[in-house]
Symmetry: C2
Subunit: 410 residues, 2 copies
């Protein structure tokens, strides 16, 4: 750990002690569930392990608040810049997520309630160029193909890095972002900021699937156990530096509440393929029951429309690899009446999968071709990132994100 | 209740039952504190009384999330438009805040967790013109005088109405805003939206003073009991329609974290006049102890700088009326590196007082003249509203905001 801290705090008394960092975790991405009864403990004692084989913030139950912020390397950046940035970020993220004051921070009061804080790092394709490592760039780390209904705005486009910062406490999510931006200041500039929200504590009842602003229960078919994460999310083939990592797709999806809400409930449910109240397939049962696409009503009409969102999103029987981890957050920003808007809302639609080309793209192609929801939704942003595996502190000292790829001696 | 509902849902089956509305409250603005131990109850059972002598959301302990949204009447509006809008808004806000589905809503799933939802209505000066009631407009309902350091952006300026929507649940705050915008669609268009946040549950420990993004404990000298609210906030003189109401000042204050954080902690504390950790006056003691402006250190220098924010904000002994209720929320939006920004943060600074000219203006004049914090803060938005008194359901039916002023038969 020989990286010198940038001179941002020049002249300041570094009050924060460089306390020994969290000991190496063996719990992977498991969350220390906080069952305490009062709010103070619920927020201050809720710590998600930062170290582990995979980054946190992927398998972690969703938190209430999202700051998804992009960064672009400064012009003169090279591989050394990249390693310095990733080293600083890892070190500071490890402290923040443990509720500890990062080295050099003068704001200990802002780090008292991690509230399940996670900071997840994604790396864009240009970083492989800058680091002169194009030969190691995964094939799938490239722009998604253009879909016919895309109306992409480049302001929500690809960046060199992304940090997904999530916490059940809004001030913690804000301060963690602030700290990570400050840590990057010598190396990278901020790009877009996509802010999102779910229910307080992620879901009204932890473990319940959250809703989006169409009222839809969103994420039912997500992986729910280690086996499914192993199948769908964690990379287990290819170069060593990839193992244990994953890929992140970020789509910004505008959802037109103004026209959607003109539908009656039956029409909304037919478009989704699930009921609104419980998220159960329209063929019956409960949220997690398998849909029966052959079920019909008394007139012989299918109970689940074959063009419903759910039917189109479901992996075909001969392509079971078409599954992804969805981790979407709602957004709801200022509408513009001059555009006829009563609302300007949608999803920061974040997905994780081993390979976006094999898993995300075919699903989105089917949806793009024919999904009844397309009347009300529009994809307006797109980016893809490599998510390095988790890090740890071991006998060799503390490790940092993507070290085995970028370290000068790697 | 003869107002016909607008045709937004034309063709839709109105599934929501027009359940009997919440019975008339006598508890004023007291909050039903939810001491239940699990998150579900904490969010679903936390209901703040809507009816009462004063509007909720003023004396109510701060919630985690703010949607402060402005509205402007459509061109052909008249007094009838105003009364229809206020009647619809009051009726729907009363339902939403009680966790009940408003008449005509098809989204019962979005109203399950009020999480201390409050919806507070403010009325701008132009509404008195539109309603042909200029002779009744309070003298103080006018733009604030220009302060020398103001850098006002008209996009954060005066509007005809404002709704302050606060909840500890972000989806509830979003859906309540959505519903209120939809209710207004025939009568008014949305203007600015100022979104803000505090800690989850308002404060990490309920009852604690929240922090702003400078790390400052913000709101220590607020009124804390009924007597102080009576003295500082609730109007008790003048026309009948004003009694029990108040005024709302909305200032948008940019806070330059980038330069502020270059200060060491001692300099930050000197500028504020309080310590960062506890918010105690620099003359010693605890947060709520009186500052001793005459106290000096061993060199004879004052412990509290006379130009510190706290010293300048404090009411002079001969003008004890210069006190206000501050209810500020933090904002933290996308920075623009092209402007040299690492951050774009600050406060949605909302204050309530009987008379802004007598209470808010002299404080702000002193701060504008000389407040050490002025190096790092800039006022960029300003608006003033009349906040009508609370409403109730009584023998005559349900009443609506500002009815005694605007009702055609008033």
């Amino acid at each position: 750990m020989s990286v010198s801290r940038r001179g941002f705090m020049a002249g300041a008394t570094v009050a924060a002690s460089a306390a020994a960092l969290a000991s190496c975790a063996n719990a992977g991405d498991a969350q220390k569930v906080d069952a305490a009864s009062d709010a103070e403990t619920r927020l201050t004692a809720a710590i998600v392990d930062f170290d582990g084989p995979h980054q946190a913030g992927i398998e972690t139950p969703v938190q209430a608040n999202l700051n998804l912020i992009s960064f672009n390397l400064k012009e003169d950046a090279d591989r050394t810049t990249v390693t310095r940035l990733l080293r600083l970020w890892t070190e500071d993220a490890r402290s923040l997520c443990a509720g500890k004051v990062p080295l050099g921070s003068l704001e200990p009061e802002m780090v008292t309630a991690p509230a399940n804080l996670t900071i997840t790092c994604g790396i864009g394709p240009r970083v492989f160029e800058v680091a002169d490592l194009v030969d190691k760039q995964p094939d799938w780390l490239q722009p998604l193909p253009e879909f016919s209904l895309d109306q992409l705005d480049e302001k929500w486009g690809q960046s060199d890095f992304v940090l997904q910062i999530c916490s059940d406490d809004p001030i913690m999510a804000s301060h963690a972002m602030r700290h990570m931006v400050r840590a990057a200041m010598d190396y990278a500039e901020t790009g877009w900021l996509q802010q999102g929200f779910l229910n307080a504590d992620g879901a009204i009842e932890k473990g319940k699937t959250p809703r989006n602003l169409f009222g839809q229960v969103d994420g039912t078919v997500n992986p729910h156990n280690a086996e499914e994460y192993k199948e769908q999310v964690w990379i287990d083939q290819g170069a060593d530096f990839l193992i244990g990592g994953t890929s992140m797709v970020v789509r910004r999806i505008n959802m037109n509440l103004d026209t959607w809400e003109m539908l009656d409930r039956a029409s909304r449910e037919e478009s989704i393929g699930r009921d609104l109240e419980k998220g159960a397939p329209l063929s019956g049962g409960e949220e997690f029951d398998q849909p029966d696409f052959s079920a019909t009503d008394k007139y012989g009409l299918p109970l689940i429309d074959k063009n419903s969102h759910m039917a189109r999103a479901t992996a075909p029987e001969d392509a079971p690899e078409q599954k992804i981890k969805r981790r979407p957050y709602n957004y709801d920003v200022q509408p513009d009446p001059a555009l006829g808007q009563l609302s300007n809302a949608g999803l920061v639609f974040i997905t994780f999968q081993k390979d976006p080309v094999k898993q995300y793209v075919p699903i989105q192609q089917r949806l793009d071709e024919s999904d009844r929801l397309n009347i009300w939704i529009t994809h307006i942003g797109s980016a893809v990132y490599w998510v390095p595996p988790g890090v740890s502190v071991d006998g060799d000292g503390d490790h940092y994100w993507a070290e085995s790829l970028f370290a000068d001696d790697a």
